[in-house]
């Protein structure tokens, strides 16, 4: 009997997590980790009194939204990487929204032509090189990493990771598919070890002397530089940062975005739009740099002082949606060259 009592209480407790729908709420499907997104949501709730509920998952949320269809409790989708945003749009899961605030705050190459999704922050794909073993002037473009002088000296995360796939897509967009594949082939020949680990691990490998050059997202440099772990701070001290493709007539460094859009069958549409607008506003845009060393998507907000101290990179202004459209082609090249 005690077991039955326990079961009943448990079931009741656990069902209390089900979907309640109050008017002052917004339900979020997030691809961003809670510890990164919570400071923004807290600021939003403090300002508006609207409560936020979150499900965080790295994969499959688009499929969840799709299967739930009209019955979905979700109001807002937040993601990192343009590829994921594009999947939502591709499956027609997002609502076109008319918001003057959003279209003013977010430049057109960082949002969808239909205003279904909006980029909220930018991250640059940058090159890091060993301070002791590499003269930073030796590398000016991402294309230089295919040169034979780097044979056995580059470390990389697997090519099929979203960040590298997006970078590959940007190279296809700039140079065409066959040139891009040639580059990828030579780049893979230059690798010092089998592609592995995340961006942090590449900086570590340079510190350890396994290789001299790596490609990382700019914010990892900041995370290492200000890490609680003294060892990780040493890794960051050991490398120089290079923003590639900065010459006068070059295209600029490849950037990816984090962003969001309103779910098609949202029941709290106004709140969801309010949250997106808040995320594009000055207060939130400043937070991106402060919390995660990302660049604001809003061109009227200047990057954090720390970011400015690393340099003032020019970004590749190709419409970001192109990167998503070319991602499948990029993955094919990555499969063929074994990156």
């Amino acid at each position: 009997m005690k077991l039955i009592q326990f079961l009943i209480i448990t079931v009741l407790y656990i069902l209390s997590f089900g979907h309640a729908s109050f008017s002052s709420e917004v339900n979020i499907y997030s691809h961003r980790q809670p510890f990164l997104i919570n400071p923004f949501l807290e600021a939003f709730t403090n300002k508006t009194g609207i409560k936020t509920n979150v499900v965080y998952s790295t994969k499959g949320l688009a499929q969840r939204l799709k299967s739930e269809g009209e019955n979905s409790p979700a109001d807002l989708v937040l993601t990192v990487d343009i590829g994921r945003l594009y999947i939502y749009e591709d499956n027609k899961l997002l609502l076109p929204i008319e918001s003057k605030i959003l279209t003013e705050n977010i430049p057109s190459h960082l949002r969808s032509p239909q205003n279904t999704w909006f980029g909220l922050s930018k991250r640059a794909r940058v090159i890091v090189v060993s301070k002791d073993r590499v003269n930073p002037s030796q590398i000016e473009r991402i294309e230089d990493l295919a040169n034979p002088e780097w044979r056995g000296r580059i470390c990389s995360r697997p090519g099929s990771h979203v960040y590298n796939r997006a970078l590959m897509a940007s190279i296809i967009a700039a140079n065409g598919e066959s040139k891009a594949e040639k580059w990828a082939k030579s780049f893979v020949e230059n690798l010092a070890r089998r592609p592995q680990g995340n961006d942090r691990a590449q900086v570590k490998a340079i510190f350890e002397g396994q290789c001299d050059v790596a490609i990382i997202n700019n914010y990892y440099f900041g995370k290492l530089k200000y890490s609680e772990d003294p060892q990780q701070r040493e890794w960051a001290k050991n490398v120089n940062l290079i923003f590639p493709n900065q010459q006068n007539n070059d295209r600029g460094a490849h950037v990816n975005i984090s962003g969001g859009g309103v779910a098609k069958f949202s029941k709290n549409k106004e709140n969801a739009i309010k949250l997106l607008e808040f995320l594009s506003s000055e207060a939130a845009q400043n937070l991106y740099g402060k919390i995660n060393f990302e660049y604001p998507a809003n061109p009227n907000i200047s990057p954090s002082e720390e970011l400015i101290s690393w340099g003032k990179p020019r970004e590749d202004k190709i419409p970001i949606i192109k990167i998503a459209e070319l991602a499948p082609n990029a993955q094919r090249i990555i499969d063929r060259v074994g990156w």
Binding site: T10, I14, H19, N27, Q63, G83, Q196, G197, D229, A327
Partner: protein, 551 residues
């Protein structure tokens, strides 16, 4: 003639039909998500297969096979070897090893992989020590196996997965009739190879099948070590090429692997029912080992515990001391509570469902029903995220029917029954981990003496009475073993919980993941340790229930 039947007879007939119906319905619900995945896979993959075949597919398949074979070998050596030692012999520390051998089951493989990488890689303490000791300058001066490799993945998975084989083999060794051993001794045969192993074979193979399914569906470890298996391929195709159809098709290949495994298990089970109903049955007496052999046995048992539990726990502890990351204990306590509740609820559902399908199909079912209930436990073979997509489609279908049904009555029904509730999560757990309970109970049933059942019927007892008075007491330990394994599995489960959970619902696994995903091992260490710690609860239970079991 029907009309001449008495009311009781009629009632009996109906109730027999209900008995038959229960496993059919339950199995259908479990297999629903799998069917939905097949439907997804039947779409058009846009000519992707040519590309896959020419580039990566063969590599995926070969790596998957290598990983499975490697893990199976190590798991068999340590799982069966340790189970045999602790059930048959007395040696130093045997009592402690007996329950500690279960502990690695509480460690999620991907977390062990994180901890190991830090420890064994170039800058880790092991290689640094070697360099200092021998005066090597850098990596070019010596050779050290790379931990982020196929070999590393085999190592990590083997030492957290062997407990599946250990538990089932141990139960089976303990329950093997001692008379068989006596006969083996009389004929001067090696009793391990001629008696113990053949008798425990169904249980060992059931355990091994679980291990192999776990290997096929693993994503965390292979992603971290970049071992390109089918599962890693599924994600490259799905998220990289935005092609869910092709991804579902690859997961069907993995599924075929598993069907093959289950077929092997099924074959090994057929016509192999060993039991002894004689009164003389006594618990096998344990042989005391001489000092040297005793030490060796102790070391043999200690090694897998060290690799799969002690070392990872020590490493995580060291990491968690290193961080000053502020930990809100009340949040953490809540998460622990959630985790234990949902895991118990899931484990109980699995036990109820797998017992009813296994027992009814075993004693009352036709061949087709038997195959169907076997099939219903194949959810285990899919990578968690892929199965959750099947679950989502299945639940979406049910919810849509429900909402349109409700709209006929109330007109403003907005939400489904399942989506975003804990029920969908429970459905996913049962669909995935049914195999754990089912396998354990099936192997227990093969050891129930048939003549006891016959005797019960002869005495005029009904099936229900036979079930409660004979079958259930005899397979109690198998049920508990299955339930506890399921509990631990759910507690560690990540991809399905991550994707299907309600708003603001965290388990230890999801909470750990947000840090581990970013390779923030210091922040991840404390919740990871709590996963392992909560995993100790079922181990302690198991110890209490399964110690000195009697038939």
């Amino acid at each position: 003639m029907v009309t001449s039947l008495t009311i009781t007879e009629k009632f009996n007939q109906i109730s027999i039909d209900i008995w038959h119906l229960v496993p059919w319905i339950l199995s259908f619900i479990l297999i629903g998500p799998v069917i939905c995945l097949f439907i997804t896979a039947s779409g058009d993959s846009g000519g992707l297969w040519d590309h896959l075949y020419q580039t990566v597919l063969i590599k995926y398949v070969l790596n998957t096979i290598k990983l499975m074979v490697g893990v199976s070998i190590i798991v068999l050596i340590f799982g069966v070897g340790t189970a045999w030692l602790v059930t048959r012999y007395e040696f130093i520390g045997k009592k402690v090893f007996d329950w500690m051998l279960m502990l690695p089951a509480a460690c999620p493989a991907y977390l062990v992989a994180y901890a190991y990488t830090d420890f064994f890689e170039y800058a880790g303490p092991v290689q640094s020590l070697l360099r200092n000791f021998f005066g090597w300058q850098n990596a070019q001066h010596y050779w050290f196996p790379e931990i982020r490799s196929l070999g590393g993945a085999i190592l990590v998975m083997s030492f957290v997965l062997y407990p599946y084989v250990y538990v089932l083999a141990r139960t089976s060794f303990l329950r093997s009739p001692s008379s068989f051993y006596e006969i083996g001794k009389l004929y001067n045969k090696n009793i391990f190879f001629s008696v113990g192993l053949p008798l425990a074979r169904p249980a060992i193979i059931a355990g091994l099948a679980l291990v192999c399914m776990e290997v096929i569906s693993d994503f965390g470890t292979v992603e971290f070590f970049t071992v390109e298996t089918l599962t890693l391929g599924i994600f490259n195709v799905w998220l990289g090429m935005n092609n869910l159809v092709a991804a579902a098709q690859i997961s069907i290949i993995a599924f075929i692997f598993v069907i093959a495994l289950l077929f092997i298990e099924f074959k090994s089970r057929a016509n192999r029912r060993f039991n002894d109903s004689s009164q003389r049955q006594t618990i096998i007496k344990k042989v005391s080992l001489p000092p040297l052999k005793s030490t060796f046995s102790a070391l043999f048992c200690f090694f897998p515990i060290f690799m799969g539990f002690l070392l990872p726990v020590i490493l995580l502890l060291l990491h968690s001391f290193k961080t000053s990351y502020h930990q809100d204990w009340s949040i953490l306590f809540n998460i622990v509570w959630n985790t234990i509740l949902i895991s118990s609820l899931g484990a109980i559902s699995i036990i109820v469902i797998s017992s009813s399908t296994a027992i009814i199909s075993f004693y009352k079912g036709s061949k087709i029903l038997n195959k169907f209930t076997d099939l219903a436990s194949t959810g285990y073979a899919f990578p968690g995220t892929m199965l959750s997509i099947g679950v989502l489609v299945f639940a979406g279908f049910i919810d849509k029917s429900y909402v349109s049904g409700m709209n006929l009555i109330t007109e403003n029904s907005k939400f489904g029954l399942l989506s975003g509730t804990v029920i969908i999560l429970l459905l996913a757990y049962v669909a995935r981990f049914q195999a754990v309970g089912y396998g354990s109970i099936r192997s227990g049933l093969t050891q129930v003496p048939e003549n006891l059942i016959d005797a019960s019927y002869t005495m005029g007892k009904s099936f229900t009475e036979t079930l409660t008075q004979i079958i259930l007491p005899l397979i109690k330990t198998s049920i508990i073993a299955g339930g506890l394994l399921a509990f631990v599995d759910i507690m560690k489960e990540l991809p399905m919980t991550l994707l299907l959970r309600p708003f603001n619902f965290e388990t230890l696994a999801t909470y750990t993941y947000q840090f581990a995903h970013d390779e923030l091992i210091e922040q991840a260490s404390l919740p990871a340790l709590l996963i392992i710690l909560s995993g100790l609860i079922p181990v302690i239970f198991m110890n209490k229930f399964l110690r000195d079991i009697k038939i």
